[in-house]
Symmetry: C2
Subunit: 349 residues, 2 copies
Amino acid sequence: MNDTFLKACRGEKTEYTPIWIMRQAGRYLPQYQKVRGKVDFLTLCKTPELAAEVTIQPIDILKVDAAILFSDILIPVEAMGMDLEFHEKKGPVLSPALRDEGTVKKLSVPDPEDKMKFVMDTIRLLRKELAGRVPLIGFSGAPFTTATYMIEGSTSKNFLNTKRMIFQSPDLYRSLMDKITATVTEYLKAQIKAGAQAVQLFDTWGGIFSPQDFRDYALSYVKKVITELKTWQHSEKIPPVPIIYFVGETAGLLEEIKTSGADVHGIDWRINLDDAIKRIGSNAIVQGNLDPIALFLPQNKIEQRVKDILGRASSAQGHIFNLGHGVLPETPPDNVIALVEMVHNYSRK
Amino acid sequence: MNDTFLKACRGEKTEYTPIWIMRQAGRYLPQYQKVRGKVDFLTLCKTPELAAEVTIQPIDILKVDAAILFSDILIPVEAMGMDLEFHEKKGPVLSPALRDEGTVKKLSVPDPEDKMKFVMDTIRLLRKELAGRVPLIGFSGAPFTTATYMIEGSTSKNFLNTKRMIFQSPDLYRSLMDKITATVTEYLKAQIKAGAQAVQLFDTWGGIFSPQDFRDYALSYVKKVITELKTWQHSEKIPPVPIIYFVGETAGLLEEIKTSGADVHGIDWRINLDDAIKRIGSNAIVQGNLDPIALFLPQNKIEQRVKDILGRASSAQGHIFNLGHGVLPETPPDNVIALVEMVHNYSRK
């Protein structure tokens, strides 16, 4: 078994730097497009055989060191009771958008093995099909990022409705966040029980806050999820599963982020990795941080950036190579394949 | 004359902390809406009497310490030869979007007093109408941010086309940036000659880069503009006009930004102001950095944030209070009025 990724998550020495890529199972791969051509996005997420198939594609094609469950961060939101649709252009639409006590009260904290059984089934199937080739990462949206979609009803430019609820109706926001936090916690427990060997919390929109607001309105809930997961693993005598916390736009927030309790911190590309490591501390275990659009460079220039990032990562306790955000649909697959090779080769030296 | 703003820009002692607000002349003000109801946005920009009227509104209503020319950062792009339209929902649309040598070659470096005379006329009129009440700030988009609109044709989510040109056709990007840089430089010289008493360069999208890419593809051109402006002022014996450089999402880039040559650095809200000052250096003169959506808080909470920012600013050589980005159209005007009062009152103590 290739356990390089898990070793790096634990800060143990590895032969080379492991790499996986956010959204590695996705639209830039013709093989994914082929499967996706047959069913809509949500059906793909909800059909374990198909979700497992596209999860495994990048392991075969790219030779990455970890698989990540193919799913969507809004799956638990649908399970909580909101209507979820994906529009080709507009992206996800949740309705009715949450703005008042009535709609928040109607939400439930779902039993994952009931309402999201297809996810756990996908994980169980994947562990069988992967047969130990690489570890499987589960994931969930972090509570705040999940809340933004519920409050805005879709993606947003400036998150005015979300911040307005936080600033003008703090009690309503807290009651919503308590439900989301409980849902995310139970969801990740179920994923771990089903076989996820690491989990990542995506706080894609955490970077829209000032440091103080980030701590109060996003990080505090992440801490609850992580504390609860660690306590539960300990009491159930489950071997510790590494927890990765990814925030979009980390640069101003690292002094807060480093207190999350996560084992690994995902870093976006807007900051030099050595600078991020210095601010987290020398025992930092980090994941990142190539600009996704750098994959449009000629390969000899990609090479320079890979070497630069590997060099900057040398001060960390552990490093998992990744992009600073998801791979874009327009990305040339050959460059992604080349990236994985480069990371493996140059980090061995 | 109230020269508190100019004194702060020069790092001189002031009686209180001056404040102005990005987009202070804008849609959140009913008085602005009234003028705007009569003409479309571009006509408003191009009619000196009306542009001057809305420029002065926030001086009367808010009691801010500086006026900023009402205009748009895309005015010089139209003058360079592109078609510019403003759509109510989609925002600005420039056509044809620049993607090849042919369209870049067609662009000219316009004579500002010919193609953008209405801007200089507005400035001349404003200096007369303001009659020294407060200083007048001129502005331009920074070369990179200007380029993003020209290459994308509109606003963008991930700036794929822009970065693709930078990464795949660096010579084409350079030839485009040389033209924009010359245009911005001449445009700001003309504004200063017409009477602008400070100028701000808006690099709203500079934060989409890694630090190295920011230096190579955005900052290097800003440095050219600033060096050229300073040399010109010196040789023409024009009294120095403070230059403010504002970048959106500054947190990962401050070590680069501080080398810009600007007199004042604009800081967004995603970083604590004292942290930003520490990274720039103790002689830092900074502008910022309240989250624009904090203006939706109850006033007693706005007060806490004002005091917090004023406290954090105390380590700087100079501080101009501002938001970390433009004020939003939905903002309650009363809270903006209260903000200005608070900044004035609390900074006196």
